[in-house]
Symmetry: C4
């Protein structure tokens, strides 16, 4: 089977999950001191921006990955569903994160939940990639060496997010900063460009 | 008419229904004992995982089916709409299921609703397949024998889900286990591979 | 400009609006008399089924129309946006309808709102079709005669829905029945088949 | 990388954000004076219509822009994600706007938020366009002169929306009128037609 409908279905889930993030920002019911009420929602805005960039990043990585994977089998569809299950879970973890920071209670747990979910998502990426490699679902242009570089790059993800979650468990604010930095780092990957191969780097 | 827009529209409904499942997990308002509050939501997580895998499975089956069906007519569009109506109903039945298990009341009814909806969905699949076969909307490569194997395989669905719902009505926990097992069984169909034909099996 | 992204965007809005209908069915908070609570929601189920078939029908008609319209201009995009605005409004009118019947108050107004919205949607269909005809955005195979038959068929819509709304304003239950009958009539258009041309009829 | 999945993902976000606007219109719980209750919601309807036309317009512009941009790189995906972040934020600003006008308090702040978000979105459009021009991601048919005309046209956006927001901060009702007028002006751009080039104008 070709991967076109798998990509369309995944695009749909990514697009919905990313757009649903806005529901975590509740309109103030009392608008008499609107500016203050709006400013008071800062943890929600922060969670919105971080989670939006995160899901956008996961989508971009999914996109790059399926530039190389050109065929689909039953297991690939299953693992892809697991990945989407994690992606669709992010609006919840994002909402918990914003709640904890707004209430000033439970930040450690919230950040561990957020980071743990993230690490799980990256594990799914690993599984998809290694299965596609083994089951020969990839484009012929993907050499063993390039596939391994990709594997190393993907592996770096759960380790760093795991460390961020661990750090954030003890120092919640640091955890948020680490997540933000990692997301931006992965979005604008100047050193990754070479290691991810010409296709990604040049274009 | 070709089936491309029918597939795109269906992909959209599947993707939205699967992503909306997350709304059934409510963010705890009080985050002072966040870990306990989060653990307390276990029926919601379970319902999320089962229903996500279920809708993902229905999508995968829809995808496989429309690899074979290459043309569309008015009745096919109508029955497909009925199928999507059932799919979009799953977030509701899933939410009722989680509520009943959280409250410790009404589990039998909830599981009968869940299983009944599922059986209805599989009936729609049957209708789509048999109509497409009779109205000659299929690819020429689909032989009578293969179509009948598919029919037998699809028929097995409502019967087993119906039995699961009946069993679950008397022993709710067993019902949940049966649904979970059936969903996994259909996702990774080692014996089905041969009977569903080379196209599905090999790839 | 080609119509492919216009169709993709429209498919998205149709798919989301149709799936959001499920939010109008609220999970009972108390599950101790679950069967009774679920049966009590019958106006919501009815509104769900009618509105689902309705939006599915509007999508099917949009699909048929854009089998013929092969190019897009600025005005077409604008009127299509108006149509989508009406489609996305249906979950609201559907929710009002269910509320009114559940409360046993305001049924006349609710049904007039529902029917009026519907008539508006069909007017947008008319506008799209007549504009596409005048601006020569159609496939060459669409003859003047066929375009006029389509126009007559589409015109029949707002008149009948308008009559349904008027009737429903005085006899709400009759209005619901009329809407249901009209939707089914348009879904399975045995007499329309000939008048809508071979393309629709044969396939 | 080609732009097809970027367009599909963006179409998804636009379609969801535009459809979610309906959630800002709450069904009246008491339906005994339904007509009065429905009429009372006029600020919500107004916000719905304006925001629907606005997101539809942004989608149409995105569509026109990506008729010219034919390749994608990492930065383009990032800035496009920023644009989508702004688009998905509009249902929130729209809801705040309707709340403020319904409550008769906070209109100035609400309109500044609405206009500011809009200006931000147009800035993202500028960034996408200028980056695509510099990074040579465009179709060869886009001449320097045409690209500059487009740039001028796009630049006009944030300036006029910024002025509208400023004006609206002091005279809220005027701000709403200005936004409405600008949205309609951009939808039906008779003088723009020539300056935006034949592709947009003729078709």
């Amino acid at each position: 089977m070709s991967t076109s409908r798998l990509e369309a279905f995944s695009d749909g889930v990514f697009a919905i999950a990313i757009t649903l993030l806005i529901f975590n920002i509740k309109t103030p019911t009392d608008t008499s001191h609107l500016l203050a009420s709006l400013l008071n929602l800062w943890p929600s805005y922060l969670a919105y921006v971080i989670s939006f960039l995160l899901i956008g990043l996961l989508w971009a990585n999914h996109h790059v990955m399926f530039e190389h994977i050109i065929q689909s089998d039953r297991l690939l569809m299953f693992v892809n569903t697991l990945l989407l299950m994690v992606v669709a879970f992010i609006p919840f973890t994002s909402s918990v994160l914003a709640s904890a920071f707004r209430n000033g209670a439970g930040e450690s747990v919230a950040i561990a939940l957020y980071g743990g979910t993230l690490a799980l998502g990256v594990l799914c990426f690993n599984w998809i990639w290694s299965h596609a490699y083994r089951a020969k679902l990839m484009d012929d242009h993907v050499t063993t060496e390039r596939a391994q570089r990709m594997t190393r790059r993907i592996l770096f993800g759960p380790i760093s997010y795991g460390l961020g979650a661990l750090l954030g468990f003890f120092l919640p604010v640091v955890g948020v900063v680490v997540f933000g930095a990692l997301i931006l780092f992965y979005w604008l990957p100047i050193p990754q460009r070479n290691s991810a191969g010409e296709k990604v780097g040049a274009r």
